[in-house]
């Protein structure tokens, strides 16, 4: 059941196409993340939904009602901006009361409701402070409360965590998720940070160059990326360009590595070009070949230690491979040594060209 529906949204600035024929369905109460590098069109899409940009063509509908011709203030959409956009001349409570004031709610009940909302975001007793007197995280919470207090039909979050430091960011990820669940508001979250997208979303929409590359749940996206771009953008991966030698048996060949078997798929036929993906954590490092797995020899170039795990980068022929190993396993190997790397056929995932 589609709640928010984008159909055929395009946006061009003169010759430049910022968005091309974007289609998307979002269900009520869903938490969807727009993920992509800067300039990929994710923020433009958000601004078109909010009404700050007009699409060159296409439709935005909420519950089958078109938003076309509605100005931003008529759309009833809550937005949290990158730098929060808190009104500096108003206190936290007055900021949260503002949308209610604009909807004709009287001051006393409005401010009471604002205080309730501030309490929900964990800012009880902070209502009288001005934005300048609040920390970054607290400002973030006020902005969230303000965007939610008028029960918007949609909540848009435009890279709201970008300005926060790492610890606070993780804390706010959990907070936002909690509040969104509690209120059941349909939410679109824009970010270029893939780990943020993975940890928060019901579904992720990956944007690149004005196109949607893939729409899927975080796990699906991680394990079954549909394009080379998605595979490279989400998590770490080894991407190996191959020629399919036998599609029925799942056999392919790469110039440097030699023959590679992959999990059989009908996405490519014999003789076609394709890309195979092997996640670094699915590769095992050993001194000698391991039975039941595909083994190749690798010359280790660099070992980066992270304590609990390590990243080993080496060459198979002239193809660079990245291997993620548990900290304890790395002691068997040193830089500039030769070793054996191995994987299971099921870990080799085929991406069609």
């Amino acid at each position: 059941m589609s709640y928010l529906k984008l159909s055929g949204i395009s946006k061009s600035y003169g010759q430049f196409n910022a968005l091309e024929a974007v289609d998307l369905d979002i269900a009520k109460g869903e938490f969807v993340t727009f993920l992509g590098p800067s300039g990929s069109g994710k923020t433009t899409t958000l601004m078109i939904i909010a009404g700050f940009e007009s699409a060159t063509s296409g439709q935005v509908e909420i519950e089958n009602r078109s938003l076309f011709g509605l100005a931003p203030h008529q759309r009833n959409i809550g937005i949290v901006f990158q730098n929060y956009g808190l009104f500096p001349h108003k206190t936290a409570a007055q900021n949260v009361y503002f949308p209610l004031q604009m909807r004709g709610v009287k001051k006393a009940p409005g401010l009471r409701k604002a205080e309730e909302m501030l309490e929900l975001v964990g800012l009880k007793d902070f209502g009288h402070r001005h934005p300048k007197e609040l920390s970054g995280g607290q400002q973030q919470r006020v902005a969230l409360a303000r965007a939610l207090v008028f029960e918007p039909s949609l909540l848009l979050l435009d890279e709201p965590l970008g300005a926060l430091d790492k610890n606070l960011r993780e804390q706010m990820q959990i907070e936002i998720k909690r509040i969104q669940r509690a209120l059941g508001v349909t939410t679109i979250f824009v970010t270029h940070d893939q780990s943020e997208a993975m940890s928060m979303s019901d579904r992720i929409v990956v944007f690149e160059k004005g196109h949607i590359q893939q729409v899927a749940s975080p796990l699906e996206l991680y394990h079954r990326p549909q394009t080379r771009f998605v595979a490279g953008f989400i998590g770490e991966s080894n991407l190996i360009d191959v020629k399919i030698t036998d599609a029925a048996k799942g056999e392919a060949r790469n110039g440097a590595i030699g023959p590679i078997d992959y999990a059989v798929s009908d996405r490519a036929s014999t003789g076609s070009e394709a890309t195979l993906m092997i996640r670094p954590e699915h590769i095992k490092l050993s001194r000698n070949p391991v039975g039941g797995r595909q083994n190749v020899r690798m010359k280790v170039e660099t070992i980066v230690n992270y304590g609990d795990n390590a990243l080993v980068v080496g060459k198979v022929g002239d193809h660079t491979m990245r291997v993620r190993v548990l900290g304890a396993d790395v002691v068997i190997i040193q830089e500039n040594e030769e070793c054996c790397i191995s994987w299971q056929r099921d870990s080799v995932y085929l991406i069609a060209k």
Partner: protein, 263 residues
């Protein structure tokens, strides 16, 4: 080298400060003409200023003219600044330059122009004439201050207000104007001071009827150096001290309060 520049700097501080300070004792002097150090002290010339219509009337004229100039300047400059800062359009470069032009033209040139031009309308030697002329001279100053403020205005705030359900008009009233208020006040204050202090155009076109304080002071200094000038100078200087230090004091109090609140 450093030490040399430093000592020179201190000498310059004295050079800058001494003429400002000297008018204060002069205003309490009981000498009939310029004499320093004063032979004795009294408040007679303050009394003279506050009772003499030949001084009070120009003062009143100046206040009147500066106020009207400020209102007119702001009414013209505020919308124009929004257009110039927030929109791109053809001819914007020329419009920007036009705003600043009055700063580039020597006032004596404008004085000649106004004297003849306003003469042909019969508004030379009237309040109206001075107000119209002063507004031209105040426009660039008000524009510079306001456009700097408007450029620094975070437009996300307006988008936020729109997304929260405020119409463009209500966004302007509830968000844009209040946040720009300090800039508007300073801009208006500068326009006021520009008019209140303007001397050259006023000398030529204010005449007897609309005589401004600077014109009266100029004439008086030129003719007899009436000691009342020291009184006016002291009062003006006091106003400057107040105007320059007040914002600092206010900022300090605000900071302290913000720090207390955050603690």
């Amino acid at each position: 080298m450093n030490r040399f520049l430093r000592w020179l700097g201190i000498a310059v501080v004295i050079f800058i400060a001494a003429p400002l300070v000297i008018v204060v004792p002069m205003s309490f002097s009981n000498a009939r003409s310029l004499q320093f150090p004063p032979p004795g002290y009294w408040l007679g010339y303050y009394q003279a200023y506050f009772t003499d219509w030949s001084w009070l009337r120009p003062t009143w004229n100046s206040i009147l003219i500066a106020t009207a100039t400020t209102v007119l300047t702001m009414a013209l400059v505020v919308p124009a600044t929004f257009a110039l800062v927030r929109h791109r359009f053809r001819g914007k470069g020329i419009a920007d330059l036009m705003m600043l032009m009055p700063l580039a033209v020597p006032h004596i040139v404008m004085a000649v122009g106004y004297y003849s031009y306003f003469g042909s309308f019969g508004i030379v030697h009237t309040h109206l004439g001075v107000i119209l002329a002063h507004t031209c001279l105040s426009v660039p100053i008000a524009f510079l201050v306001l456009s700097a403020n408007l450029k620094g205005f975070d437009r996300t705030l307006e988008r936020a207000a729109l997304s929260l359900g405020a119409s463009p008009t209500r966004t302007f009233i509830h968000i844009t104007l209040p946040i720009l208020r300090p800039g508007l006040i300073i801009s208006a204050l500068f326009a006021f001071i520009q008019s209140f202090d303007e001397t050259v155009v006023a000398i030529f076109i204010s005449g007897r009827n609309a005589e401004t304080l600077p014109r009266k002071m100029f004439d008086s200094i030129r003719q007899e150096a009436d000691p009342v000038i020291a009184v006016i100078s002291t009062l003006l200087f006091a106003a400057v001290i107040l105007g320059v230090t007040a914002p600092l004091v206010v900022a300090r109090i605000r900071n302290k309060r913000a720090r207390l609140a955050a603690a």
